[in-house]
């Protein structure tokens, strides 16, 4: 379980990107974080990854205050979380297979288990036949699927995705969503920041909406709020 308790983040002592956030996210949930550009979505995610620390408040992960984790144990904490970026961030000189295997190599795993697990995960994201391709030989959607494969290969408890469909067309976005919901069904918590209204309304999941850094809506299994939006 993830808990934000009165969390605020002020950049450069003057700009508050995230204001007094209180949130509880249970294990196995699927959550959209929405809000306009600059609303603070990425800041929230960075806080959760312990890339930045809150100016006020605490963030607990399974009851552990993540900002009390010692610097050298941060790596261990991050292994509980798989992260998917908007820009994929695959290593260009490695094949699809190697990109995924790399994530496994970095934190554990015998060569044998790597040879066993990587093909499984690649088939889950539908890329078995592209294992030997290099990232620049793949479409955006395919690259993002590799990135997802990389994020799940170490069986994290939580997947955090910051606009994973941000660079993709609607069709491809659907594929990505399919994979993410599939992963969620297997028990992994998924937290996804997005701009994409259509996706949010299509998948009836919990939606947390930010505005100027504050949570203005937290709707269980909702989609966007019903009121006409966009000002």
């Amino acid at each position: 379980m993830i808990e934000f308790n009165n969390v605020s983040k002020t950049y450069k002592k003057e700009f508050t990107a995230v204001k007094n956030i209180n949130l509880k996210i249970d294990k196995g949930e699927f959550i959209f974080i929405v809000g306009k550009s600059g609303a603070g979505k990425s800041t929230l995610i960075k806080l959760l990854l312990r890339e930045i620390s809150p100016s006020e408040g605490t963030i607990n992960y399974n009851g552990l205050d993540i900002n009390k984790i010692r610097k050298r144990n941060v790596a261990e904490y991050r292994r509980k979380i798989g992260f998917v970026f908007q820009d994929y961030r695959l290593l260009p000189k490695m094949t699809v297979y190697e990109n995924v295997a790399f994530a496994m190599e970095m934190i554990c795993c015998s060569a044998k288990s790597i040879r066993r697990e990587v093909p499984l995960v690649l088939s889950m994201v539908g890329l078995s036949d592209k294992a030997k391709y290099y990232p620049d030989e793949l479409s955006g959607g395919e690259q993002q699927r590799v990135a997802i494969a990389r994020a799940v290969i170490n069986k994290p408890e939580t997947i955090i995705a910051d606009e994973p469909t941000g660079n993709l067309d609607p069709e491809t976005s659907k594929e990505i969503m399919k994979i993410l919901t599939e992963i969620n069904k297997r028990g992994t918590t998924v937290i996804m920041a997005t701009h994409d209204r259509e996706i949010v309304t299509r998948y009836h999941k919990r939606v947390i909406e930010l505005k100027h850094g504050a949570v203005i809506r937290d709707i269980k299994a909702g989609g966007y709020s019903n009121e006409p939006k966009e000002d």
Partner: protein, 301 residues
């Protein structure tokens, strides 16, 4: 440490060393420069200490060379008055013939060179034994006032000036070494910095994945260590070959004085072990420090 990790860490380190070889060369060069200067200082100090040690027994002895035209009576008289000088323990007389025989003995095989001498060039000598080394100066100044005294030789003076030179070399060397140490740490940390920046995408990713520290930092540490290691190996090679060359050069001279010096010098084989240990430690130490400086600055996600 599994083999895979070691392989990864070394592969990355070697890869970036090759990619970044000009900076690598500068790093190695700076480490080598520090160590060569250090080696030079060490060798000078060691040799001076050695000379001091070898000549130590003679520290409490002053050689008083007498003019050739001093008569035997006068010699006796002089000996008696030398004994009266405050600070003198005793005196012993050495005739010039005895001195020549002793020299022949010292020269051993080369003694035939002395056979050709028509007159004995060595002086009659009084060896004056001091009560206390600290009184040398006052005794010497008294001895010099005697008529018939050609020269007063005291080993300690020569050794002292050697020691003074060594002190100077030590101080100058220490300053240079500290400066060069800092410079080479700086150069290595810059080299590593370039690698960090080159690989920053990969490193950032590794940190998000939760890669262990060994994977993230390992390659940089190894890169620094290898740079330091290469620098120290080059320095060891240069210093030992160079020093050996100098010793041989001096020993090969027919000038007696110079070959005499080489006899006092510490042999390469005597210092090589220590040199290797010291150089490797310092070289690798510089490498590690350089890496750490850079990692502290540039790895913080």
């Amino acid at each position: 440490m599994n083999p895979k990790k070691i392989e990864y860490v070394f592969k990355q380190a070697l890869k970036s060393m090759w990619r970044n070889r000009m900076m690598g060369l500068a790093s190695v060069g700076s480490v080598t420069a520090v160590l060569i200067i250090l080696g030079f200082v060490l060798i000078v100090v060691l040799n001076v200490n050695n000379v001091a040690l070898v000549t130590k027994e003679t520290f409490d002895e002053i050689a008083v060379y007498l003019d050739d035209d001093v008569s035997e009576d006068q010699i006796k008289e002089m000996g008696d008055s030398f004994k009266e000088i405050d600070g003198v323990l005793g005196v012993a007389f050495q005739t010039k013939d005895y001195a020549l025989d002793k020299l022949k003995e010292d020269w051993g095989e080369d003694a035939f060179l002395l056979e050709g001498l028509r007159v004995n060039p060595l002086p009659n000598t009084y060896i004056v034994q001091l009560k206390d080394v600290g009184m040398s100066e006052q005794v010497i100044s008294k001895l010099e006032t005697f008529e018939g005294v050609e020269d007063v030789q005291y080993y300690k003076d020569a050794v002292n000036s050697l020691i003074k030179i060594a002190e100077f070399v030590k101080k100058l060397g220490a300053g240079l070494i500290i400066m060069l140490l800092l410079i080479s740490i700086f150069i290595i940390s810059n080299t590593i910095k370039i690698t960090v920046l080159n690989r920053h995408k990969e490193i950032e990713l590794m940190q998000y994945i939760g890669a262990t520290n060994g994977y993230v930092r390992g390659p940089f540490m190894i890169e620094g260590i290898l740079l330091g290691l290469i620098g120290s190996l080059v320095a060891i090679l240069i210093i030992s070959l160079g020093y050996n060359y100098i010793i041989n050069y001096l020993a090969g001279r027919y000038v007696a004085l110079l070959s005499g010096i080489s006899g006092y010098m510490v042999g390469v084989e005597m210092i090589l072990n220590d040199l290797i240990i010291i150089f490797l430690t310092i070289g690798i130490g510089i490498g590690i420090l350089g890496s750490l400086v850079s990692l502290k600055k540039f790895l913080s996600v």
